[in-house]
């Protein structure tokens, strides 16, 4: 007897046949760990990089665009609280690091010396990334012992952000350009002139709870005097006439009231925005904020904002201390497929460096620096010379974040008169060398 097939047989056969159909391969998943915050509400669904603004907006849309254009790879983003190194260290200790991580170039030595991140030379070559295309400062920033340990993303340096309206009132504008000092004596003279004319401090600085700005000033002006304060990357020399000169200059500026006092980063940033001083010593990342303010008629910066690299105050060389952001690949076992995917992401990030440079940071690629579209962005012509004049600390110096903090603490004590300059320099030197001596 032939029985009618049960009702469920046909649907079951269809499902079974469907299961046998060829499936599209699963995309390779890469975990990219970064800081720069989260802005998913605004940019979570957008791949329009050109329309994005700010660090978070641009990096979010960049990754969205990569995922949209590369269906065989999925970049999963892990956002961490700045700077994220505690988490990275914990992940490395647990043997489960991400595939790509943002890292300051000044921090690379901490990880490369312990082989916690991989040299990228060969992979970059296979992905068509040529380190010869990096700017000099970017190449120096990511190279350790002749090997490239990171894809540079940008460089940044402290700058002089200038309120041209106040400079004009103080008679410090000539031919539409700010008059800048060429020596410590000229700096003091111009600062006094500024204070007399405007009744406001010449400098605005972040001086309270400040982990690095003091150190950036010191490094810059030591480099300008050709001081080889890190001749040995494991030993700093700060008890020198050059260092004493720098601290004494800033102590005098403070004592004469030529600088705003008792301001932290937030207060100083707001003070410059509100026209409370002539020059704000801070990095590239605030160019966009102040440029926007200069377009508002009710702003004290209206039509009067300029930004320049640190002027050369000492007869040595024209140089400014610099750092930068980069991408590293933590040391872990990965499939060939995944490794190739990582370098495709890196190549994509390199190819979109112009978009990232809209944040205000200096591009890491000479071709972008030379491009008309980058030069046409506000104030980029003024800061372009940093490509040649910016310099990081020597590549072998480890624990640079901690070193900056120690130096900043001691400099604050000396500049605000709580400690003699010589004692502060001696203490800074001893504390830094203690750290470096005890490195593994």
């Amino acid at each position: 007897m032939i029985r009618r097939p049960a009702r469920w047989v046909l649907p079951a056969m269809i499902v079974a046949l469907g299961a046998c159909a060829p499936k599209s391969p699963q995309p390779v998943e890469i975990t990219l760990q970064r800081f720069f915050g989260a802005c998913e509400a605004q940019y979570g669904a957008s791949a329009d990089v050109a329309a994005a603004e700010g660090e978070c907006g641009i990096i979010t849309t960049l990754i969205n665009q990569f995922n949209a254009q590369n269906p065989d790879i999925h970049v999963k983003v892990n956002v961490v609280y700045w700077p994220g190194y505690d988490q990275l260290s914990a992940e490395l200790a647990a043997g489960n690091p991400p595939d790509l991580v943002t890292m300051h170039q000044s921090v690379i030595s901490d990880y490369s010396q312990r082989r916690l991140i991989l040299p990228l030379d060969e992979g970059m070559r296979s992905a068509g990334i040529d380190a010869a295309n990096f700017t000099r400062v970017a190449r120096e920033g990511v190279t350790r012992g002749g090997r490239v340990y990171a894809l540079p993303f940008d460089n940044w340096a402290p700058l002089w952000h200038i309120n041209m309206n106040l400079f004009r009132a103080a008679g410090l504008v000539r031919g539409g350009q700010p008059v800048l000092p060429r020596s410590p004596e000229e700096l003091l003279q111009q600062a006094r002139q500024f204070v007399r004319a405007t009744g406001k401090p010449y400098f605005i600085q972040s001086m309270v709870n400040e982990p690095s700005a003091y150190a950036r000033n010191l490094f810059t002006f030591l480099m300008q005097q050709n001081s080889d304060f890190f001749a040995d990357p494991r030993h700093i020399k700060l008890q020198t006439p050059e260092a004493r000169r720098v601290l004494q200059l800033f102590a005098q500026i403070y004592a004469e009231g030529l600088t705003g006092k008792n301001q932290d980063y937030t207060a100083a940033t707001g003070a410059f925005l509100n026209g409370q001083g002539g020059v704000y010593l801070v990095g590239t990342w605030l160019i966009g904020t102040y440029e926007e303010a200069s377009k508002r008629p009710d702003s004290p910066l209206a039509g009067g904002y300029a930004v320049v690299p640190y002027p050369q105050l000492y007869a040595g060389r024209d140089v400014t201390y610099a750092d930068g952001h980069s991408w590293v690949v933590p040391n872990a076992k990965r499939s060939e497929l995944k490794t190739r995917a990582i370098f495709r992401v890196l190549r994509f990030l390199q190819d979109n460096d112009f978009q990232w440079s809209r944040t205000g940071h200096l591009p890491a690629y000479q071709a972008v620096i030379d491009s008309a579209r980058w030069r046409s962005l506000p104030h980029r012509d003024e800061i372009a010379k940093l490509v040649n004049s910016a310099a990081p600390l020597p590549a072998g110096v480890q624990r640079q974040f901690l070193i900056q903090q120690i130096i900043s603490e001691e400099m604050e004590s000396a500049i605000t008169g709580q400690k003699p300059v010589d004692s502060a320099l001696a203490d800074a030197e001893r504390r830094v060398n203690d750290i470096l001596f005890n490195l593994l």
């Binding site: 975990t31 800081f35 720069f36 915050g37 989260a38 802005c39 998913e40 509400a41 605004q42 979570g44 700010g54 660090e55 978070c56 983003v77 892990n78 956002v79 961490v80 609280y81 700045w82 505690d86 988490q87 914990a90 992940e91 200790a93 647990a94 043997g95 489960n96 980063y265 937030t266 940033t269 707001g270 925005l273 509100n274 990342w285 904020t289």
Partner: protein, 272 residues
């Protein structure tokens, strides 16, 4: 004169309350302002326009409800675990006689004096070996070691009259039945106190989740909202930062409102 004197304590209390509430109100006001306005000066917090944009940005992050869920799961699990283990251990130390009881209790008390920082590396390595990082178990298990809970429950059980247990035994109840039916209900005030403090401290914990739950899928709310801050958030994103603070404290506020009576009683009991 007497009238004035009678009003002084009230006025002092009102002033103190205002001083306590001022930072919270300030946080709320800042959270309702645009970041750009606050960059120019925080005095703008006292005048309109106000906006919910900062809250929109928090809620627009698809992961935030996952972080809330993670925090809720971890906090509730730790609280339940601590209550169970501390009650059992407390009863044992307070009422049962067994060899080494005194020494064991001293060892537990030593746990009160050992800071988390001193064991964190060993704990992290142990959890790595057990593949427990980025799991709920990895977030919950360390919280279950609660020497304070054991101490609190031990002291509480010791203070209860023995006659209650003896009456139960006369009626043929076992140790466990006596614990479950007689002593446990009587210890409810202590349990509530311990539960609330455990929940609050677990909810607010940042350090261990930061280094154990490194995958954003397992972030707790504290780690998640910290990660979504941009560099220099205190300057460029002050309104957003304050909105995050308000948002993160809302569940805690709800817990406080629901259990207010017990919290006040618990604090008073702890003080006495």
């Amino acid at each position: 004169m007497t009238k004035v004197r009678n009003r002084i304590p009230g006025a002092a209390l009102a002033a103190a309350s205002l001083a306590m509430a001022a930072p919270l109100l300030w946080t709320l006001l800042l959270s309702l302002k645009a970041n750009g306005e606050l960059l120019r000066g925080t005095q703008s917090a006292f005048s309109p326009p106000y906006t919910l944009q900062n809250y929109h940005e928090i809620l627009g992050h698809s992961a935030v409800f996952g972080w809330l869920l993670n925090s809720a799961i971890v906090s509730l699990a730790v609280t339940l675990g601590v209550l169970t283990l501390s009650s059992l251990a407390g009863y044992g130390f307070a009422r049962l006689r067994f060899p080494g009881r005194g020494a064991l209790f001293v060892i537990v008390l030593f746990g009160l004096a050992i800071p988390e920082q001193s064991v964190i590396i060993a704990r992290h390595q142990m959890f790595s070996a057990l593949h427990l990082h980025n799991t709920y178990a990895g977030l919950i298990l360390p919280g279950l070691a609660a020497p304070f809970g054991v101490f609190l429950m031990t002291q509480y059980f010791r203070a209860l009259p023995r006659e209650l247990e003896e009456a139960a035994w006369l009626d043929g109840a076992s140790h466990f039945k006596t614990f479950r039916r007689i002593l446990l209900p009587l210890s409810l005030p202590a349990q509530v106190t311990l539960g609330i403090f455990t929940f609050l401290s677990t909810w607010n914990d940042y350090w261990w989740p930061l280094i154990s739950a490194t995958n954003s899928d397992r972030y707790t709310l504290t780690v998640g909202i910290a990660s979504s801050q941009m560099n220099f958030a205190q300057t460029n994103g002050l309104g957003f930062l304050m909105a995050q603070a308000v948002f993160a404290s809302l569940p805690i506020l709800a817990v406080y409102v629901i259990f207010q009576r017990y919290i006040v009683a618990g604090v008073a009991r702890a003080a006495s």
